[in-house]
């Protein structure tokens, strides 16, 4: 019996009173919608609503009694500290993500070439920085950065160099924050890249070796293009998380010295919560959105294009 005949038969068959409702609930699209409904509710409650409320808040005055349109943004744009925060956030996020990506890639390669048994042990150890709550591990780093009693300065003194005021001078404080962020985040890149490396067929490397590729050329022409999607997605994800980083700056420097190590999240917290100007804090937070939206657009477009071509 053909599908057409079957559908005609079904339509002609006598239906009980609740037939149309039953048909509606049995449709695949209805079932799919009902099954995704819990997730949609979570997204609406925890993402869409707070985001929309954030936009609404950013248009209010300090006492949150009346709308001032884009007034909060205009004030921010006239503030040197805000532009410092924009600059610092970009430097912090880009430097940290590049360092995490490179170190993660290197670690993944090293692990990939260790036999499976030993690999599991090393993989577990290398993931430790990522699984410790960052607030706790950053506290440990805070101790290590202490100018007088720290282990890092002790090691530096062994080679005869003067102690470094890690958290006291802007340039060192920025470096200190990036180092901790890289320490925490590199294992994530490592595990993602390791999974990607394992999915590259060994025969491609063998074909490249026979084609005449050196080790570096195999990396450039086989490994990197084959991992391009994972690299892009991981970098985008890390960029978003790093831009929104709060805890490391809060624990290590609290934005100091002289507000020169603030990033968007810590500055938004300072302006919105500590200084009591919630609408302007919301405006600071929202400033990340267009930067990340542009990055996400280009990265995801590249991923889609590559998927179409290769998968």
């Amino acid at each position: 019996m053909s599908a057409d005949t079957l559908s005609v038969d079904t339509r002609l068959a006598p239906q009980p009173g609740t037939g149309s409702l039953r048909r509606f609930t049995r449709r695949r699209s209805t079932i799919a919608f009902l099954m995704t409904l819990p997730l949609l509710l979570v997204i609406v409650c925890l993402v869409a609503y707070p985001a929309a409320y954030g936009v609404y808040l950013s248009t209010l005055n300090r006492t949150m009694e009346r709308s001032i349109g884009l007034g909060n943004f205009e004030i921010l744009f006239d503030t040197d500290t805000f532009w410092n925060v924009v600059w610092q956030s970009c430097i912090f996020a880009i430097t940290a993500v590049i360092a995490k990506a490179l170190i993660g890639f290197w670690l993944a390669h090293m692990l990939h070439h260790i036999p499976t048994k030993g690999q599991r042990k090393w993989r577990g150890m290398l993931l430790v920085p990522w699984v410790i709550p960052p607030a706790l591990s950053t506290l440990g780093w805070w101790w290590m950065y202490d100018p007088s009693y720290s282990s890092i300065n002790y090691l530096i003194s062994i080679v005869g160099a003067p102690p470094v005021p890690w958290l006291g001078e802007p340039i060192w404080a920025r470096a200190a924050i990036i180092i901790v962020n890289v320490w925490v985040g590199a294992p994530f890149f490592m595990i993602m890249y390791l999974a990607a490396l394992k999915s590259v067929p060994e025969q491609l490397y063998e074909a490249a070796a026979i084609d005449g590729a050196t080790g570096f050329q195999r990396l450039r022409y086989v490994t990197v293009p084959m991992m391009a999607n994972i690299i892009s997605i991981t970098v985008l994800f890390s960029l978003i998380v790093t831009f929104a980083n709060y805890d490391i700056v809060r624990v290590l420097t609290n934005g100091g010295p002289r507000d020169l190590t603030h990033v968007f999240a810590s500055y938004a917290f300072q302006v919105g919560i500590l200084s009591g100007n919630i609408p302007r804090g919301a405006a600071v937070s929202l400033f990340m959105l267009p930067i990340l939206a542009v990055c996400a657009f280009f990265v995801l477009r590249g991923v889609t294009r590559r998927n179409k071509e290769q998968m």
Binding site: A209, I210, E309, Q310
Partner: protein, 362 residues
């Protein structure tokens, strides 16, 4: 173009597993040699050692007279076609084929000329701008061959290149490979587990078993004069029948009482056979329907268990005494039926007698 020499090649894996147990093989310039054998016989390992993808535990491999044991694959001037094609998915067909030349810094015009020429030979010119994803299995295999051809290497290595194709395409690609070899005449080493591929493609077939070479020779020689029971059973489809036998008074005595006289021309060869534990080997195509009057034929009565009409022939499966899974090839016009006895004619000019203990063909 080059000779390939394998001298006492051994490959040991961890845990003292010996994949290749000291093989010697000389492959002549322009020759098409096929390594064939069951899974795990060491044929792919041997090919990968020639390619430089596996280290040699002991022995020497020479390409064009130069020992290449310690030379990396890129400097051996070989090209390889893999079972899974191993095309770079992010590159177009043109770039895939040009990759080896680009790495060797060939001028762009020369790269284009070579790729266009290979594409013309393989009939893939319209596909040059496509990505591998947009190609069928057969087209991908052609591209993989094109990648090998453009390099104009000393040796082509094929590692079961047709295993992933369907039966019809496999036959078509087999012909393509033979045509390409007849055109470019590059020394070729081809690995397969399919004896039909081996027989149809090879100038010489190397039959391997358990890490050793059982026999090397042209396809017809292997078919007509197998050296061992393994080769006799491996070459030919359906496989050769083996029946326990003894030789007395110039005749082969089979279980069930059948007595098959040995042709006069072969008697001297089997002079030492009486008293030995023997196997009588005969191919299904030499065990046909009854044809009275033909010289050197012997009659044998069997009871078919299963009849398989194939169109151009009919296969009759039977057992004779302890020998099970025997097969005869009958003319399609013969009206054979299961469980109805039938008289067959054994072509005794094409029989084989094997030492049951050593498996050597007498």
């Amino acid at each position: 173009m080059a000779q390939v020499s394998l001298r006492k090649i051994v490959k040991m894996y961890e845990g003292d597993v010996q994949a290749v147990k000291g093989i010697d093989l000389e492959i002549e310039d322009h020759e098409f040699v096929v390594l064939v054998g069951p899974s795990g016989c060491g044929k792919s390992t041997t090919l990968r050692m020639i390619a430089g993808l596996e280290e040699i535990s002991s022995g020497d491999i020479a390409i064009g007279g130069t020992v290449v044991n310690d030379i990396p694959p890129r400097d051996r001037d070989i090209a390889m076609v893999f079972q899974n094609y191993a095309l770079y998915p992010h590159m177009s067909v043109f770039d895939n084929m040009a990759f080896g030349l680009t790495l060797r810094k060939f001028p762009k015009a020369e790269i284009k000329r070579r790729v266009d020429e290979a594409a013309r030979i393989l009939d893939i010119t319209p596909l040059l701008d496509r990505k591998p994803k947009a190609l069928s299995g057969g087209q991908r295999q052609r591209v993989a061959m094109g990648r090998a051809i453009v390099r104009d290497p000393k040796v082509f290595l094929f590692d079961e290149p047709l295993s992933n194709l369907d039966a019809k395409l496999r036959v078509q690609m087999r012909t393509e490979i033979k045509k390409v070899h007849q055109t470019v005449r590059t020394t070729t080493v081809y690995v397969t587990h399919d004896q039909v591929e081996a027989m149809t493609l090879a100038d010489r077939v190397v039959v391997m078993n358990q890490g050793l070479i059982e026999q090397v020779g042209p396809p017809q020689e292997l078919y007509h004069h197998p050296a061992t029971r393994f080769v006799a059973g491996f070459i030919g489809s359906p496989a050769m029948n083996f029946l326990p036998a003894r030789v007395e008074n110039g005749a082969v005595h089979l279980p069930g009482g059948a007595v098959l006289p040995i042709p006069e021309a072969r008697r001297a060869r089997y002079a030492g056979a009486p008293g030995m534990d023997l196997l009588f080997g005969i191919r299904p195509e030499h065990l046909t329907d009854h044809r009275p009057g033909l010289p050197n034929r012997a009659d044998i009565t069997i009871t078919p268990e299963v009849i398989e009409p194939m169109g151009m022939e009919t296969l009759a499966h039977f057992h004779l005494g302890e020998a099970r899974d025997c097969c005869a090839r009958l003319e399609p016009t013969v009206l054979a039926e299961p469980n109805v006895p039938i008289v067959l004619s054994a072509d005794m000019n094409n029989m084989h007698l094997l030492d049951a203990k050593s498996g050597r063909v007498l």
